[in-house]
Structure formats: C-alpha cells, structure tokens
C-alpha cells in the first residue's frame, strides 16, 4: 500500500486485483507523457503472457492482467526489469502512430470564444489561430468520451485556466482550449474549456467498421484552418476532409 507514496518516478501502483499502473509523473509534462507512451509500446512488444490490455493516460501506463495466469509479483518484477536502465523521459515514441491533418473553422459562429482565449493568451485572434495550427500536437491521452483526444502541448502562454462557470453546451466537434491543450469534442455537452473553433471530423463513429475511433494515444494532429464554407464542403468527404499519414 506504500508503493505509491513516494515521489520517485517511475513507480508501480496496483489498481485493484487485476490492474497495475506505472506512473512516470504526477504533473503534466511532455517527458512524462512520452515515457508513458514509450513504455506501453515496450510492454506490448514484450508479449507477456497474462496481460489482457494496456493503455496510457497523461503520464502513466496501465496494464490489465489475469492475476492467476500472471501473478502480481511476477508482473511487478517484469515491469521493473523493463523499466530499468533507461531514461524514459526522452524515450523514442513507439512506431505505428498516425499523423492527422484536420480541417477546423476558426471563424464566426464556429469560434465564439476565440477572441477571449486569444486575449488570455496575450495574442491577437489571428496570431492565436497561427499558434493553434503551427505544428502537429500529440494525442497525450484519450478519454472523457471515446476517441476524444487531449492534444498538446501548446506554448506556455496557452496555459489558460478553465472558466469558473461552465459553458452550458458546446456542439459535437467543438474545438476547445485550456491548460496548454486542445480538444476536438467527441460529444456535445457542458465544458469549462473555451470554444475557439469547430470541426466536422468525428472522433467517435461506432458505425464506421474499419476505424470507429480514428485517433490513438501518441498520434499527432495538425489543425488546418479553413473557412466555414470549405468546412461545410469537406463535411461530405471521407473523414470530413481530414487526411492521415503513417509516422515513421
């Protein structure tokens, strides 16, 4: 039970009877996220019998296992071995990732809080759009809703607090910002983040046989600014005009 008490990272923490968490950091950082993604890749690649599923969140790797086929002690020891002798903070990201380019409209009714968010970030609205589209962002983790990626990390001036009052509802596809991250909302509903754009790209499409959830943790997403007209025109195309390429 004292396993998680220390601040020495990485540490290994049991999650109930059939889960184990390898925690690389307790605050959001690029290195912690990189480590979690890289370590999941290593665990998956090790082909350990008894592991049922792996996952990552912002700075930890999760392993679900069958505690009879693979004892807690044995998994713990195996994870320790895999962790040892490596600086995980600058570990190379695993292969098999995808880079997406996703059309987003940052204009008019699509971007009700762009001016507010830009002001808080200390830039003009035009500059804000350039910041948000300047480079690919990494899917740090997926959650809250299926397929919904926490994309980061933006520069430090984008470390915006959440709003003190929730926006009652933003639409499906809302592009929202807070705490140096961008989310393409996979559902509609309330949020404390600010809506700066809108995309027709759908992050969760259960009827899409091949790829019901297009993004995976570690994928990259580059937002591409389009006019509202172009966004609507692209809406009928596969992936609503988003394109993808395999990352080496």
């Amino acid at each position: 039970m004292n396993d998680g008490a220390g601040d020495d990272f990485p540490n290994i923490i049991p999650l109930g009877l059939d889960g184990m968490l390898v925690r690389f950091a307790d605050t959001l950082s690029d290195s912690g996220n990189r480590a979690a993604l890289a370590f999941r890749g290593v665990v998956d690649g090790a082909g350990i019998r008894g592991i049922r599923e792996t996952s990552t969140s912002l700075a930890s790797t999760f392993i679900a296992f069958d505690p009879v086929a693979l004892s807690h002690d044995r998994l713990h020891a195996t994870l320790r071995e895999l962790l040892a002798g490596r600086d995980w903070s600058d570990a190379p990201l695993p292969g098999g990732r995808t880079r997406w380019t996703v059309p987003v409209c940052f204009e008019g009714a699509c971007a009700p809080q762009l001016a507010d968010a830009a002001a808080l970030a200390g830039v003009s609205p035009d500059r804000a759009v350039r910041d948000l589209t300047a480079r690919p962002l990494r899917a740090l983790a997926l959650g809250y809703a299926p397929g919904q990626a926490y994309l980061g990390t933006l520069d430090a001036n984008w470390n915006l607090d959440r709003q003190s009052a929730l926006t009652r509802s933003v639409p499906l596809g809302a592009v929202i910002v807070a705490v140096r991250q961008v989310i393409m909302f996979a559902t509609s509903g309330p949020t404390g983040w600010r809506q700066v754009g809108l995309t027709r790209f759908r992050c969760f499409r259960p009827d899409h046989g091949e790829r019901p959830i297009p993004l995976a943790p570690g994928d990259e997403v580059r937002l591409r600014a389009v006019s509202e007209d172009e966004m609507q025109r692209l809406a009928g195309q596969p992936d609503a005009g988003a394109t993808s390429e395999a990352l080496a």
């Binding site: 049991p14 999650l15 009877l17 996952s55 679900a64 807690h72 959650g143 259960p206 943790p217």
Partner: protein, 338 residues
C-alpha cells in the same frame, strides 16, 4: 425471424453482454452487464456460451412475447417473472410458447434483473459487442414495440435451476488499494473501513453514489491529480468527499482520488445494492483477494456444476401439454449440453 417482441419496457433497460475490451486506450470503457455473474448464471442455466447477450432489466421491467418457442431464465435481482396468471421461479429455465405474453416486474431486491433467452439476443455487434452503452447511446435502443432478434437455440432442457450466490441487499465489499489509496491518511482509511455507507438513489451504470454520516473523505495535501486510468469497482471521492462506486460505464480516465478498488468478485454485490441498502468496505490481503478470482472459464465451470434438475408439480405447469407434444422433457442434467 426468431425474435423477442418488447411490448413494454422501462427506462434504463438494455441489451447487455460482457462488454467491449481493447478500447480502453482510446477512451471507451468496457461496459457490459452491471451484474456479470447474473449473465453467467443465465448462460449456465440455458447451457450456452457466456458471450451471448441478455436483457438487463431495471426500474419497471418489461413485458415480452416470443415469436417462436423459447427458453427463458431470469437471473440477478429478485423480480417477478409472470407468464399468464402464473409466477415462474427465478434462476430456473422455463419454456414460453409463441403468442404468450410474459412480464418481468420491478425488482424487490437488487437493481438489475437479467432476462436470458435460449440462443441469446442476437442484435448485430458494434465494435465487438452487442451491449448497449447507455451513457454513449451506443448499441441497440429499446422501446415499446421493438423486435429483438434471438439466435437459434440448440438446447431444449428446461426444469433446471441453480441457487444464486447471495449478493442482493448490500453487505461487505472486499477491496484492494487503487491509484490513490496511499494519499489517504491511515486514520481516514480506518474510518472508511469502519463506516457503514448507504446506497443513494442517485446511481446508474456509470456509478453509484453513497451516503454516510461523518466527515468527508479527502486525500492529504494533493489537491489536483493528473487523470489516470479508472477500473470498474474503483471507489472515487468527488470534490466534496462523497464516495462513488464506479460501474461498467465509468469514464476510462479521471482525476478524482480513488480510495480503493472493489474486487471483481464483489462488484455484482456493489452494483446490485438498491437505494437504502447498507454497504461496508473491507481491505483484504492480496492472497485473500486472489482466492476470489475466477476467470470466465472457471466461473462458467463452477456455475454449470451447480445447475440441477428441478421438479415441478404438474398442476403448476400450464404448459405441460406442450412439453409432452414436443417430447422435450429431459433429465435436465447440465452435462447434456456444452
């Protein structure tokens, strides 16, 4: 089409199986039956594989009709299964004839009852499962008049029953540490284990709220936690220190502190606790916890071994004639199938 016609269905009822695995990293929780044991009991009673789908019934239950002769078994919560003017015993296999309406009433103990049918509810799988994920509006929706396809039933045996493992009405929930157990003071962990909790009316497949007397349970020091993976059975303290038991449709990651994780074997008891039922938590050793572990194969083998023939008074068998006509009366031994 061999189908189950839904004449009336209450809110919160859904098609469920064992849920979806493999999507955790992409933000989709497993879902599936809130009481997985009840689903397995239904499969054992009907002598069929455990991966078929059943109807999870809660609230007011529902009224149904089969389009062809169909075997049914009600498991999980204590609810009345009524065919014509007869109440049929739960945790047993019955045969219903086409055209006869039968109903499952509101639960009198527990929360989730399962109407298992021979051949399973055969709606098309979505992302590897037939289960509805209510929080996401994923999977089949049920309304009055829905016709649910039912798979072919290779079995015929009826008059089989089993005594379910007691798990209704609350009780002790065994736990192991979870993500943030170490952030709670030892005194608070001891108080947590000594406190009776009452299942609040607010609860669903995502999570169940608990009430208790006394101070809230808060972690020491750390105010903001980085979001980490949630597993069903985690007991999470919200901002005001109120515990929630997280269920099969809980979000996959979250940043509220989790004081412990209920053992999978006790999760059916947790999810079947009805409003007003009292629950207590007890941390156990890893060895004690491991002794409760059953994978699906072991669970099914244990349940099949407990299925036994039941004899019924012929006067209580309104469908007696049909049994004789089809010659389908069997010794009911579970070994006949599987």
């Amino acid at each position: 089409m061999r189908a189950l016609i839904v004449h009336r269905i209450g809110a919160g009822c859904s098609v469920q199986d064992r849920g979806r695995t493999g999507w955790l990293a992409q933000g989709l929780s497993r879902g599936g039956a809130a009481d997985r044991l009840a689903l397995a009991e239904g499969a054992a009673l009907l002598g069929q594989p455990p991966d078929l789908a059943a109807l999870e019934l809660t609230g007011a239950g529902g009224t149904f009709e089969a389009t062809e002769p169909m075997r049914v078994a009600l498991t999980g919560a204590r609810a009345v299964l009524r065919l014509g003017d007869k109440d049929l015993p739960p945790d047993a296999v019955h045969r219903v004839e086409p055209g006869a309406r039968f109903s499952v009433g509101a639960a009198r103990g527990g929360v989730f009852a399962y109407l298992n049918v021979g051949g399973g509810i055969d709606v098309p799988p979505v992302m590897g499962s037939r289960a509805a994920h209510l929080a996401l509006a994923l999977g089949p929706t049920l309304q009055d008049g829905t016709r649910l396809p039912v798979g072919a039933d290779p079995g015929q045996a009826v008059n089989r029953g089993l005594d379910p493992e007691a798990r209704l009405g609350g009780g002790d929930l065994r736990m192991l540490p979870s993500a943030h157990t170490a952030l709670f003071a030892q005194d608070d962990l001891a108080r947590f284990a000594a406190t009776p909790f009452v299942r609040d009316p607010r609860g669903n497949r995502q999570g169940v709220r608990l009430e208790h007397d006394g101070a809230p349970f808060a972690t020491q020091g750390q105010l903001t936690l980085l979001s980490e993976v949630i597993v069903p059975g985690d007991v999470q303290m919200t901002g005001d220190g109120t515990p929630y038991i997280l269920g099969p449709e809980a979000q996959t990651i979250g940043g509220y502190p989790r004081i412990g994780c209920i053992l999978p074997a006790d999760l059916p008891r947790a999810m079947q606790a009805a409003p007003g039922d009292v629950l207590r938590f007890r941390f156990v050793t890893p060895d004690e916890a491991l002794a409760t572990w059953r994978d699906d194969d072991a669970l099914m083998a244990a349940l099949r071994a407990r299925v036994r023939p039941i004899t019924r008074d012929p006067r209580d068998m309104p469908d007696l004639l049909s049994y004789q006509l089809i010659g389908g009366v069997t010794s009911g031994t579970p070994e006949e199938e599987q």
